[in-house]
Amino acid sequence: MIALRSELPLKGDTSSRFVVWLVMVLVFMASIALTTNAYIGALLFHWNQSVTGTLTIQIPVMLDAKDPASTATTERVLDVLNRHPAVERATAVPREKVTELLKPWFGAGEAVADLPLPVLVDVRLSTSEPSAINAVSNSVQSTAPGAVIDDHRAWLNRVIGLAEGLGAIAITAMALVTIALGLTIVFATRASLAEFAQVIDVLHVVGAKDGYIAGQFARRALVQSLIGGGAGLLLYAPTLGFIAWLASRIEPGILPDISFPASHWVVLAALPFLAGLIATITANVTVRRALSAKV
């Protein structure tokens, strides 16, 4: 219950002024953790989407062949693939694009032109069924025995592992922030209880119930948390802007464009209220427990 009138001199309370500052830091940290978690989730979804249902086939160079690009083999493979029922489309990656991709490492000179590069074939499957992937692999293997078939799973699994680890850290950070908030309120409330022991005694003598007194502490904790939480979000906004600016300076294509769903912003906006709820309940329980030890 929240009392409307305050009989406790909580406004001038020196023992809990730090609560607003601490809640500000905690809500700031929570918002960063939430955003990190959401970003990693969105990144995973994006990567998963972009590689699911695709295969990359490398047709190795026959060093003794005259044609270093193994044109005949490539054409046979493309022919087999494009007739396969599980394949939507199969195209060879043009050599110019492959050399373009290698440019950052080898430069644009003749050296690259002479490199015995494998032929890459991009395959888009009409299904992501593992049996279909196997059937396609088998067909390719029988046509070009040395071909390497990559369904990106191994790469994606490692990335997922990393992302999940980071996500777990973000969730752990959220849990720690919640615990820290609870402990902050408990200690601040206990300090105030000690500071106002005599006032509380008087309130008891004139017939105040424990719930009435607890309500006043809870209301104060709510107000402090809302103020601190709001300030935490205000601090978060420019931080997010700064990170977004840093990301925008990276070459396009390395990081996909990710926009957060509306639910993410709703949860972020709810953080101060969530902090307020935790603080209210914690303060109420702390006061009631402390008072229950009295006569």
Binding site: V202, V205, V206, G207, V295
Partner: protein, 239 residues
């Protein structure tokens, strides 16, 4: 007449103590085997030398402490082991004047006096009317919006008394309520207690002031060396 009753007589009294003992932590008993019954609408002085336990005895009655031995009943309710949740309702029938006033410094005189009414959720209109009336009676209408810290000891004491009686309690427990005022004001404050007594309130006033005790024809309970003795009213006093 002052009455120290046998256990079998405890019926319908405002306060009943039965073989009550009180000790702090592991210390010796402050008093032991105290039995008494305060009938409804009675008026008692509680006297005794400093340190005899007057304040402790009062604090049992306003439920700041519980007996370490014996039984305590208030308004017929056995509160010796009563749950905490039952106590606020009982406390709202009490009015307590502390020796050190215990006014809330962050509140005005008006708000201090209004406290018991507001805790009991009395309407603000009634609070306004009753508190203003009472502060006029104790001669502090000019100081309604003053903080206790700017008032003299005597003025603070009057506010403390006003706070104790504003909600028309059934039992008033006052610890040296006239200790900081001159005889004229002391007499006026005593009249307030007497008026409330006539309206049916039981009053127990702990005091050192022999002069005050001798002026009023009320019985006294004398606490000395942990023992409570009943004494008749002073002879020749006004009632």
């Amino acid at each position: 007449m002052a009455q120290l009753r046998k256990k079998s007589d405890f019926v319908g009294d405002t306060v009943q103590l039965e073989d009550v003992g009180l000790r702090y932590a592991d210390g010796p008993e402050i008093f032991s085997n105290v039995s008494l019954a305060i009938p409804q609408s009675s008026f008692y002085f509680l006297t005794g030398p400093s340190g005899a336990g007057k304040t402790s005895l009062l604090s049992l009655m306003y439920l700041a402490k519980r007996p370490t031995r014996g039984r305590l009943k208030l308004f017929g309710d056995d509160v010796t082991d009563a749950k905490r949740s039952r106590l606020p309702a009982i406390r709202r029938r009490l009015g307590v004047v502390f020796q050190d006033f215990r006014l809330l410094e962050h509140m005005t005189a008006f708000d201090n006096v209004a406290l018991p009414l507001r805790i009991a959720k009395v309407s603000e209109a009634t609070v306004e009317k009753n508190v203003t009336e009472l502060l006029k009676w104790v001669g502090l209408e000019e100081f309604m919006q003053a903080r206790p810290s700017v008032l003299s000891g005597g003025q603070q004491q009057r506010i403390a008394i006003a706070r104790a009686v504003v909600h028309r309690p059934k039992l008033i427990l006052a610890d040296e309520p006239t200790g900081n005022v001159d005889d004229t004001i002391a007499f006026r404050l005593m009249q307030l207690f007497v008026e409330l007594h006539k309206l049916g309130t039981s009053v127990i006033i702990a005091t050192h002031n022999e002069h005050l005790v001798s002026r009023f024809a009320f019985p006294r309970l004398h606490l000395k060396a942990g023992t409570l003795t009943a004494m008749p009213p002073a002879t020749g006093a006004e009632s």
